[in-house]
């Protein structure tokens, strides 16, 4: 493999990892507070749709980004209400929300345009090269000549990590995820914290969806997230519920996906379908290898019951 191909591969890896990263950050916040983030697939899809729609209607990508935050949060609100107020099972509610998102986005896509699928052709966000840094050989184009959401995604990891590790609010959030009774004993309201965490997760996941529709593809198609949300979940687990670990996980899956789509061109005697299976098998293998991680938030999955 020559240097140019490597650079191209690395650059693609970063771009492909970005939506995963947003979704993983969102899912991470939700899970650290004690709610399984199975629904981020649906929230991502909602964000992709909202972003595309807003950008189409207003002609502004920025408006699309803002809209994606809200559409992601709208679906997150459903999860939050169901799991905290009504004590619905977290995992299956996430699944239900995924189905709901699929239906709603497909329906609204056609329904709001008189029953026919509109042609959405949006300009994809161009690369924002960083002056000087972008000219470094090899690393320059990889790290500093990327579309803006890539920068945002990777930069976001730091504030998320700082929030969780260094702020009182983040400490409370983690306590709610580990032992909500202990948090309750010091005056926190675990239901409130979990709800806010789920909403934040929805916002992040929505942004991740916007990356797909506004930055990568330039349109919205039914079910376009295609399981990325679940890969993000696997990245969270592989990363042991740590922001930087999850980032590494996303990069890993992004690299596998980048490789997979380029392997065709190399004429290897491997079927493209088998290659497409690799990310999922890798995820399964990693999960199996890790087994039950002690880092999983202790109280995840259990509704908080006030005595």
């Amino acid at each position: 493999m020559d240097l140019a191909t490597l650079a191209e591969l690395l650059s693609a890896t970063l771009r492909i990892s970005t939506p995963l990263l947003f979704a993983a950050m969102g899912g991470l916040i939700s899970e650290r507070a004690g709610t399984f983030a199975v629904g981020i697939e649906g929230m991502m899809l909602a964000g992709a749709f909202g972003g595309a729609l807003a950008a189409l209607l207003t002609g502004s990508s920025a408006a699309g980004l803002v809209a994606s935050l809200f559409t992601g949060m709208a679906l997150a609100l459903v999860v939050a209400l169901a799991t905290t107020r009504f004590r619905a099972d977290q995992m299956v509610t996430g699944l239900a929300v995924n189905i709901l998102a699929l239906g709603l986005t497909s329906f609204l896509l056609r329904g709001l345009f008189g029953g026919r699928t509109p042609v959405i052709r949006l300009p994809t966000l161009p690369a924002w090269p960083v002056p000087l840094l972008g000219d470094i050989p090899l690393l320059g184009p990889v790290l500093f000549r990327q579309p803006p959401l890539v920068y945002l995604g990777f930069l976001l990891v730091v504030p998320v990590a700082l929030y969780l590790a260094k702020t009182k609010s983040g400490l409370m959030l983690r306590a709610v995820g580990e032992n909500p009774e202990a948090a309750f004993a010091v005056g926190t309201d675990p239901q409130r914290v979990r709800t806010l965490a789920i909403l934040a997760g929805g916002a992040f996941a929505g942004l991740g969806g916007a990356v797909l529709s506004l930055q990568e593809v330039g349109t919205f198609t039914d079910g376009m997230t295609n399981g990325r949300g679940f890969i993000a979940l696997a990245a969270i687990i592989v990363g042991r519920w740590n922001p930087f670990g999850a980032m590494a996980g996303c990069l890993l899956f992004g690299a596998v996906a980048a490789l997979e789509s380029r392997i065709q061109g190399w004429g290897l005697p491997v079927s493209s379908y088998v290659v497409q299976m690799v990310p999922y098998l890798v995820a399964l293998g990693l999960l199996a290898g890790i087994g039950r991680s002690s880092k999983m938030p202790g109280a995840i999955g259990a509704p908080f019951l006030r005595h």
Binding site: T167, L171, M172, R174, E178, N179, A182, V186, K295, G298
Partner: protein
């Protein structure tokens, strides 16, 4: 510093506190002594604001505490160290302190907090490492973290509820040191315990509770263990049940040097040995947390002993699975009705079949014979007077007493060779309690061997042909009921060897 006067508290028909007075001066350690159900926990819950008293006053540092909750109690300067800690295992000591502490601010400065922790730790001899993860800390250390949290929150009166129940002897000594340092700095402590020697060692004054009322109050300097034990337990053997004279048969259960250490390496059972004969009840007294659960679960097959052996009628069942033990004739009434011995969502009939459903009359070739379920249910409901709308009523609709009747009917109805009963009357009203006791005696008369573990001394004294005491994972040598002295039992329950006293 603290004055509680005339505290009254009722739970339904039970008077948990009857006109209790408690005075704690500044800089003293007052011991609150009593066995299970004596009212100590209720009194402290009232003090800390977890429950409200029906009558009585509480004055703390000149201020009256009324209708208060834990938050106000903490703000006033009270600190309570519960038996079950509210610590987040996965976090460090520093993080746990920051969680509880308002002064930590929105941007955490763990280094500063850690420094404060170290200072306080040194001052009180707590020996806490701020960076340690709580999950890695032994029980004794976790307790100290809780104490630290209380001190940092400004507690002047600390309530320690059975603090030594899970501590090893060196940890106990360490705790005593900490308590002395606290006292030296002007703090007061209420030390709740059932262990006489500890109370005598560390407390300035002792208040003894029994059945909700104060039965004695004296400074520790003048007290003797025997007098305290009598105040704690003082009753005669009540022979209010009719006990058939049964000649014990052959030995059916032999337990040899059974020991068990839990996952943290703490020894929960230490060389427990006893044998049980057909037609006799071995009643074991002891306060919760002294190894009874481990013994019962090891016998039933729910936990694995670390060493030793269990032999049932010649069959070695030390590591046998539950099914094998059932087939060999073992029955088990566990203490937990809500999730273990019963499935509340299932019907009465289903619960009655819970342990034997894959054999006749409940099933045949893998298919359930519902007629068999119903027939057995009707039979048991009649014989054991289980009050329910019908065999298909869900068990959760029954009263606690009737739920336990299901368990008793199931386990005793099989005419087991050996029955292990662990607190079978827990949470039952007197009528249901009487029923359970009658059933156990009936099983005894029919030739069954029963190991009866309970914290209720009355029952132990009523039921046991032989009586022993569990303390600290050890079983005292069983004594025939005629040879038993109640005060001695009290001493044994409190961890003191009566032989030592008699010799003195």
């Amino acid at each position: 510093m603290l004055e509680m006067r005339g505290i009254e508290k009722r739970y339904g028909a039970v008077r948990a506190n009857r006109g209790v007075d408690l005075v704690v001066p500044e800089g003293t350690i007052v011991g609150l002594l009593g066995e299970n159900g004596s009212g100590k926990s209720t009194l402290m819950k009232v003090l800390f604001g977890i429950v409200a008293a029906d009558a009585g006053t509480i004055t703390f540092k000149g201020r009256v505490l009324k209708q208060h909750g834990p938050a106000q109690a903490i703000a006033a300067g009270l600190g309570m160290i519960h038996q079950h800690f509210t610590l987040v295992d996965a976090m460090s000591v520093t993080e746990n302190v920051m969680l509880a502490w308002d002064r930590a601010g929105w941007w955490l400065r763990p280094k500063d907090i850690a420094r404060e922790i170290r200072t306080t730790s040194a001052a009180f001899g707590l020996d806490i490492d701020p960076d340690a993860r709580v999950a890695d800390l032994p029980h004794g250390q976790r307790q100290r973290v809780e104490i630290m949290k209380a001190i940092l929150a400004g507690a002047e009166l600390l309530i320690l509820d059975e603090p030594t129940s899970n501590l090893s002897p060196p940890e106990v000594a360490g705790l005593m040191e900490v308590m002395r340092k606290l006292k030296a700095r002007g703090h007061s402590i209420i030390f709740i315990s059932h262990k006489l020697d500890e109370v005598l060692e560390i407390c300035d004054e002792v208040v003894v509770l029994r059945d909700g009322a104060v039965t004695g109050r004296c400074p520790t300097t003048g007290a003797t263990k025997a007098s305290l034990a009598h105040m704690m337990v003082g009753r005669d053997v009540t022979a209010s049940v009719e006990r058939a004279a049964v000649e014990p048969g052959e030995t059916v259960l032999r337990v040899s040097i059974l020991s068990r250490s839990d996952a943290a390496g703490v020894a929960r059972l230490k060389d427990v040995s006893f044998s049980l004969r057909a037609g006799e009840v071995l009643a074991v007294a002891g306060v919760d947390g002294n190894g009874q659960t481990d013994l019962a679960d090891c016998l039933a097959g729910l936990r694995v002993p670390t060493s030793g052996g269990i032999d049932l009628c010649g069959l070695d069942i030390t590591f046998a699975p539950v099914r094998e033990r059932l087939q060999a004739g073992l029955a088990y009434i566990p203490v937990d009705r809500a999730t273990t011995s019963l499935v509340p969502a299932m019907t009465v009939a289903d619960n009655l079949a819970l342990r034997e459903f894959d054999a006749a009359p409940f099933s045949r070739a893998g298919f359930l014979t519902l007629g068999g379920f119903r027939a057995r249910a009707r039979e048991r409901m009649r014989d054991f007077d289980i009050r329910a709308a019908g065999p298909q009523s869900p068990a959760r609709t029954l009263s606690g007493g009737n739920q336990q009747k299901i368990v008793v009917a199931r386990e005793i109805g099989r005419r087991p060779k050996v029955l292990v009963a662990f607190q079978p009357t827990w949470g039952l009203d007197p009528g249901a309690t009487r029923f359970v006791i009658d059933q156990i005696l009936a099983l005894r008369a029919a030739g069954g061997a029963i190991l009866y573990l309970s914290a209720a001394l009355d029952e132990v004294l009523m039921l046991g042909d032989r009586i022993a005491v569990m303390h600290g994972g050890r079983l005292s040598p069983p004594r025939p009921r005629g040879d038993v002295d109640v005060t001695e039992i009290g001493l044994l329950m409190a961890g003191i060897d009566p032989a030592g006293i008699r010799a003195a």
